[in-house]
Amino acid sequence: MKSYFSELFTGAWSLILGLKVTIKALFSPIVTYQYPREKLVVTPNYRGHIDLVKDAETGAHKCITCGSCMRECPSDCIFLDGEKREGVKGKALTIFTLNFTKCSLCGACVEVCPTDALDYSNEYELAGFTREEFHYDLLKRVEERE
C-alpha cells in the first residue's frame, strides 16, 4: 500500500520534470541550419577530393610531374603528363585529371607527393546528372583558383 502511493507521487513528479525540460526546449533557440539558405563553415580538416596546391610565392602549382601519385593510386583515378619545355627545369605539367567517380578517398596520393603539391579540397556539395561531371581537370582548377 505504501509503494502504491509512493509510486504515484514519484511518477507524477518525474512527469512534471519532463514537462519542464520540454517547455524549456520550446523557448530556446533552434540549433538546426536551413541548409540551402544558410550554410555551415566547413572545417579545414574536411577531406574532399584532392586538389593541386597553389604556391603562395610563385602563384603556380608545385607539381614536378614525377608521377608518384598516379602510380600510388589504388583506384587508378589520377592521370597526369608533362613535357620538356625551354628554360624549365625538369618536366612541365600539361595535364592532371582526377576521375572522382573511382576515387576511394584513401589519401595515398597526398601522402606520397614529394613536394606537397596535393591537398584535400573543401568541396562537399557533390551532386550531378552525369558521371563526366566528376572527371575533374585539376590543372585547370588550380589556374582558375584565386
Binding site: Y4, L8, G18, L19, L26, F27, I30, V31, T32
Partner: protein, 328 residues
C-alpha cells in the same frame, strides 16, 4: 404551409449551425495541424515547417491538396465497403457534438437537456470507425491497432465518465449551459481538481494521442489502424482526431474551466467565445506539449494505470462528492 413557416426559423438555425460546425472542424484541423508541427519542431530545437509561405503557414494547405490528389488504394482481400465506410464514420459524427457546446452564453446551437450524453455517445462512434477500419484492412498491423484502440478506449471511458459524473452530481443537470451557469462564483477545477486531472489523463487516451497512442504506434505497428489508408480517407481520420481533441477540450472547458466566463468584454453574450476558445486552445496546447514530452507507454502499463489508479481514485472522488452534496 403554416407548418412550414413555423419550422422555417428552426431550419435556418440548423443550416447555420451545421455550416459553423464545418468551419470549426476544418479550421481547427488547419490550425492544430500547423501548431502541432510547429510546436513539435521547436520542442526538438528545429524550426518545423518553414518552406511554404512565411514560416510555413501554407504548409497544411499544400498538404491538403496533395492528399486530395492521391489515389485511394483498397488493399486486395480487404472488405471494400467497410474499408471505404470507416473514414466517413470517423469523420461524420464529429459535427453533432459541436451543436450542443455553449461557445458563449448565446452562441450555442441547441441547448439540450442531455447535452453531455449526446457528446459522449457520438464521441464513442469514432471508436467503432477505428475498429471497422482496422478490421476491414485485412492487415495484421491494422487489426492489432484496432484491438488496442477498443480495449484502451473502453477502459479509459470509465474514469472519464466518473470524473464528469462528480460534476453532474453537483449541478444536477446534463445541460452544458446549466453546468457553465453553475460555476459563476468559482470554476469547478477549484472544487474538483482530482476529477479534472483524471479527466485530462483520460482524454489523452480517448483521443489516441501520445503517450497513449498505442493504436497507431509507429515503431511497432507501422501506423496502426490507418496503415492501409491513403489520401483523403487517411486525412478524414486525422480530421476526426483533431475534431475529437477539440470536442473533449471543449467539454473540459465547460465542466472545469467555467466555459465562456472570464473578464467581461463588450457584447459579452457573444464575445465570451474569445475566452472559451482561449481555454480550449490552452488545453490543446497542453495535449500537444505532453505528446512531445513523454515516451509511449507499454500496453500493460497503460491498463494498470487505468484500472489500478484512475478508476479507484475517480470512484473515491465520486463517493466524496456525493456525500458532500448530501451533507451540504
Amino acid at each position: 404551409m403554416e407548418i412550414f413557416y413555423s419550422i422555417l426559423p428552426e431550419l435556418i438555425r440548423i443550416v447555420v449551425c451545421a455550416v459553423c460546425g464545418a468551419v470549426i472542424v476544418f479550421g481547427n484541423a488547419l490550425v492544430m495541424g500547423y501548431a502541432e508541427r510547429k510546436l513539435a519542431g521547436h520542442i526538438m530545437l528545429r524550426p518545423g515547417p518553414m518552406e511554404v509561405g512565411p514560416h510555413g503557414i501554407y504548409q497544411l494547405v499544400v498538404d491538403g491538396l496533395k492528399l486530395m490528389g492521391k489515389q485511394l488504394v483498397v488493399p486486395a482481400k480487404a472488405d471494400p465497403l467497410l474499408f471505404r465506410f470507416a473514414p466517413l464514420l470517423a469523420f461524420a459524427p464529429v459535427f453533432v457534438p459541436l451543436l450542443v457546446i455553449p461557445f458563449s452564453s448565446k452562441l450555442q446551437g441547441f441547448d439540450l437537456d442531455i447535452g453531455l450524453l449526446v457528446i459522449l455517445a457520438l464521441a464513442s462512434i469514432n471508436l467503432l470507425a477505428v475498429l471497422i477500419g482496422g478490421w476491414s484492412s485485412n492487415n495484421k498491423y491494422s487489426l492489432f491497432g484496432a484491438f488496442r484502440a477498443v480495449s484502451q478506449n473502453v477502459a479509459y471511458e470509465i474514469p472519464m465518465l466518473l470524473s464528469l459524473l462528480s460534476i453532474i452530481f453537483m449541478t444536477n443537470t446534463f445541460s452544458l449551459k446549466a453546468v457553465v451557469a453553475a460555476q459563476s462564483p468559482v470554476w469547478f477545477i477549484v472544487i474538483q481538481p482530482l476529477a479534472f486531472l483524471i479527466y485530462l489523463v483520460s482524454i489523452v487516451a480517448e483521443t489516441n494521442r501520445a503517450p497513449f497512442d498505442l493504436p497507431e504506434a509507429e515503431s511497432e505497428l507501422t501506423a496502426g489502424f490507418h496503415t492501409e489508408y491513403s489520401g483523403m480517407s487517411f486525412s478524414l481520420f486525422v480530421l476526426g482526431e483533431y475534431a475529437n481533441m477539440f470536442i473533449v477540450s471543449s467539454v473540459a472547458t465547460v465542466f472545469f474551466l467555467g466555459g465562456s466566463s472570464g473578464i467581461p468584454l463588450p457584447y459579452f453574450e457573444y464575445s465570451g467565445i474569445i475566452w472559451f476558445m482561449l481555454k480550449v486552445y490552452t488545453l490543446m496546447f497542453f495535449l500537444v506539449w505532453i505528446r512531445w514530452t513523454y515516451p509511449r507507454t507499454r500496453f500493460d502499463q497503460l491498463m494498470n494505470f487505468c484500472w489500478k489508479y484512475l478508476i479507484p481514485f475517480a470512484l473515491v472522488n465520486l463517493l466524496i462528492t456525493v456525500v458532500m452534496v448530501k451533507l451540504l
